[in-house]
């Protein structure tokens, strides 16, 4: 039996795609979710701020997750089921409590989302005591488990999610001792100062980077470099926040191409991966956008899948897109020979001011002066003619 569409991951992108396909009349949609329940990461974020873009509401994460599941109607969601291999031509190897089986589909949509980068992968020095977590793990412990591993943690990072860690701490009656940021200013500027003001008492130290974590079996402190001078912060835990990375563990071991800039699967402007049986949407594409944006991408990818089920895809000629100087990543990584204007998205890793240029060989397609911040997505609108460009597109920022 060949299914129409299988979606891997029941978070905002996957559930929105399932809903879109279902409403369009595709009966045979399967959502595979490795956890015991659908909803994705919002399930564990108890404070409000969810559903604004897609439901025009201001829900808590768990409410948003529940609404996403409800809105997907009677789509089959198989929880407690892990994809253990992505094989050529839309064949998934799925493991569940009933055993392991192959599931073949005309289209597979990958919506496996993101996670924060661990302390280890950030190469933070020091001992390895208990009490170092990411925001996600901390939130899940507080909101779902009703537990906390510490009482006086220090928070590393000032991204949006870092302030979510502060809100979670407040909910748990925990007072972080400090929040540190290696850059000169906090990353999530606007909501950031708001939260900082709301939570007066948590000092935010910019221009401060972590030197090492201290403690034997448990965290006892953290040494930081503050404006070049070493200082010790007494704390019983460390929340390592942000620096999201796409969740591509199993995908990396497959034949599907992973982009070195985004760390997610590379896609074309029709949301297709390097194997045309696979599509990808949501935060697995890149770190990191708001859940509403991930959901919107789920819907867009679902529409692309609908088209692909009706007609064969555009001819296999692509214009490759790559990130040049000054840009951390750009996607989609391939422009297909479809119709209509083209949108590209990108990000910088630090504040960049200068001239942004989109070129194809010696031909300049777009040039404008920009002042870009790492927390902001860059959107480029390009004319339909780029679909016929003879050479790869390069997006760069020159000072």
């Amino acid at each position: 039996m060949i299914r129409a569409v299988t979606i891997v991951g029941a978070g905002p992108a996957g559930l929105t795609a399932a809903r879109t396909l279902h409403q369009a009349g595709v009966k045979d949609v399967l959502v595979v979710e490795r956890n015991g329940e659908a909803g994705g990461l919002p399930r564990f974020c108890g404070h409000p701020g969810w559903g604004m873009l897609d439901f025009h509401r201001f829900w808590s994460g768990p409410t948003y997750a529940r609404k996403l599941v409800e809105a997907a109607g009677d789509v089959e969601i198989r929880t407690n089921s892990s994809v253990v291999a992505f094989q050529r031509g839309g064949v998934l190897v799925v493991n569940g409590s009933g055993g392991t089986e192959r599931v073949q589909s005309r289209a597979v949509l990958i919506t496996t989302g993101i996670r924060e980068t661990s302390r280890a992968a950030r190469l933070i020095s020091g001992t390895r005591p208990w009490g170092v977590t990411t925001t996600g793990a901390f939130q899940e412990m507080v909101y779902r488990g009703g537990m906390t591993p510490f009482r006086r943690p220090a928070v590393i990072g000032t991204e949006l999610v870092s302030f979510s860690a502060l809100l979670t701490a407040r909910h748990a009656g925990i007072k972080p001792v400090a929040m540190i940021e290696a850059g000169r200013r906090i990353v999530a500027r606007r909501p950031g100062d708001l939260v900082a003001r709301m939570l007066l008492g948590v000092p935010v130290w910019t221009d401060t980077s972590i030197v090492r974590i201290e403690g034997r079996d448990r965290v006892t402190g953290m040494v930081v470099s503050r404006g070049g001078r070493e200082e010790r912060i007494d704390c019983d835990g460390v929340i390592v926040t942000g620096k999201f990375t796409p969740e591509t563990g199993v995908l990396r071991m497959s034949h599907i191409d992973i982009d070195e800039g985004t760390d997610g699967p590379s896609i074309d402007t029709g949301w297709r991966c390097s194997d045309p049986a696979y599509f990808a949407a949501g935060n697995v594409l890149r770190p990191v956008e708001h859940s509403g944006r991930a959901a919107e991408e789920g819907a867009l990818a679902a529409r692309a899948i609908l088209r692909s089920l009706r007609e064969s895809g555009p001819a296999g000629s692509f214009v490759p897109v790559r990130a040049g100087t000054g840009l951390r990543y750009v996607y989609p990584q391939r422009i297909n020979a479809d119709h209509g204007p083209v949108k590209l998205y990108g990000r910088v890793s630090e504040n960049r001011r200068g001239t942004l240029r989109v070129s194809s060989g010696s031909r300049v397609i777009l040039e404008k002066s920009v002042n870009l911040l790492p927390e902001r997505r860059l959107t480029l609108h390009l004319p339909e003619s780029v679909r016929l460009a003879s050479e790869a597109l390069c997006v760069s920022i020159e000072p």
Partner: protein, 463 residues
């Protein structure tokens, strides 16, 4: 347990891999044996962080005690591993030369290997090596093949030794630090924070604390000089770039690094060799790990884009001497087992047999148990049958390592339950994968918090 006033035949201080193997050996030799560990769980010192290789001993100093015991330990591990449910990835090793100087050192390495009785070690051409290992950097100059080297699960092995000792009547005391001891009328009384322990013979397997424990019996003839090694573990996706273990050519000035697959499907790069004062809780340093990553991708360029799963550091229990320091001290009813530097994982079973030999020679007869009980370890090695593959499996708690709820529950009970979060990790792999607990900490803590107290506090009256 036996009558409390009856002394043990043998008390072993230190439950690292060597202590666990010696414990098993003495229990199977029919002696009343106790294994004493200061930490909350076994293998929490030097034995928790090593390169997880099963060595042939091809590069040991010929004629040394280490050379003989590593070879013997290697053979013994292979002989009993199936009965204990222990894995062995027979990867073989390639010792790669990247410069003319290294190339010139190869004949001597082969000569030494043959002297050590590892006769299948042989030279290989660049072409042959690149055929086996197509992802190696192209400027390779030559190399040596060591077919017998392999990769094992470094934690299941010592735990299996301890469990088999327990199953056959031995006793393990954890969270028990021996602080002093006195020998009177042929019986040691060891003062610990859990009361006195009496035994006829004491075996010092205290690893990086070896000289401090030795001082209980005599002025220590050796001084521990722990040597730190840092490692970085790359994502499972990196393991496709290497088949064999990639060994460096030893060099007087710089220690090269090993690149090897792990039993759990990752790729490991390390170790460094740094003389240290600290005896435990070694630190990792970002700059050192970055240098390791550079060295790794210098040898296998594709590694430069692979994600990092984790980093760790270990302390090898080195002394001022190169060789193992193992001897019986008959007038003190004491056996010292020290200076088991970096080959302890392989050497352990050989060392244990040797120590039992010293006992028989000096302290009394041994009557080997005729039909010992065996224990079988649950498999954690990637690629072999794991519990998640079985129909009817329980929920998967750790998705990166595919660890089921039943495995976590099993590790928290039984004869030697995990007593620390590290112990739980090493028994199950939970929280050891690429997300390092992002997805599974809450669920793992729900399952473990009653058995591993003090890790988390309940939030009062909240959902």
């Amino acid at each position: 347990m036996g009558a409390p006033d009856r002394p043990y035949d043998v008390a072993i201080i230190g439950a690292g891999v060597v202590g666990c193997a010696v414990f098993r050996e003495f229990v199977l030799a029919g002696l009343r044996t106790v294994l004493i560990e200061k930490d909350a769980d076994v293998i929490n010192g030097a034995s928790k962080a090593n390169s997880a290789l099963l060595h042939t001993g091809f590069d040991a100093a010929p004629g040394s005690l280490e050379a003989g015991l590593v070879r013997d330990g290697y053979a013994r591990y292979r002989a009993i591993r199936e009965q204990l449910g222990l894995s062995l990835l027979e990867t073989g090793a390639v010792l790669a030369a990247w410069s003319d100087a290294e190339l010139a050192a190869l004949p001597e390495i082969i000569g030494r290997a043959h002297q050590n009785g590892v006769t299948d070690v042989r030279a290989a051409s660049v072409q042959d090596i690149l055929k086996m290992e197509p992802h190696l950097a192209g400027d390779l100059k030559g190399g040596v093949l060591v077919p017998g080297e392999g990769v094992i699960d470094p934690w299941s092995a010592p735990i299996a030794y301890a469990l088999q000792g327990l199953a056959n009547g031995g006793r393990v005391l954890r969270s028990t630090e021996v602080r002093a001891g006195s020998l009177a009328d042929g019986i040691w009384t060891l003062a610990s924070d859990n009361g006195d322990i009496r035994a006829r013979i004491v075996v010092n397997c205290a690893g990086n604390f070896g000289d401090l424990v030795e001082a209980i019996a005599r002025t220590s003839p050796f001084e521990m000089r722990p040597r730190k090694g840092q490692f970085v573990v790359l994502d499972k996706s990196a393991s496709r770039f290497l088949n064999a273990i990639l060994l460096p050519v030893p060099n007087e000035r710089t220690k090269g690094v090993v690149v090897a697959r792990t039993a759990f499907g990752n790729l490991l790069v390390g170790p460094t060799a740094e003389e240290r004062r600290e005896r435990d809780y070694p630190t990792t340093e970002a700059a050192v790990i970055e240098a390791l990553l550079m060295q790794g991708s210098r040898m296998i360029p594709a590694l430069s884009h692979e994600p990092i799963t984790t980093t760790y550091a270990g302390l090898r229990p080195a002394t001022q001497f190169k060789d193992y320091q193992i001897e019986a001290v008959p007038d003190r009813n004491w056996i010292s087992v020290a200076g088991i530097r970096s080959t302890g994982l392989t050497g352990a079973l050989g060392i244990a047999a040797y120590v039992a030999g010293l006992y028989a020679e000096r302290f009394g007869p041994i009557e080997v148990i005729a039909d010992p009980k065996w224990v079988s370890m649950p498999n954690l090695t990637e690629g072999l049958e794991r519990p998640w593959m079985q129909p009817g499996r329980s929920e998967i708690v750790c998705h990166c390592e595919m660890v089921t709820r039943s495995e976590i529950e099993a590790a928290l009970c039984g004869d030697l339950p995990a007593r620390s979060v590290g112990g739980l990790r090493r028994r199950t792999r939970a929280m050891m994968g690429r997300c390092q607990g992002f997805y599974c900490t809450r669920r793992t803590m729900e399952l473990a918090k009653d058995r591993l107290p003090d890790l988390v506090q309940q939030l009062g009256g909240r959902q």
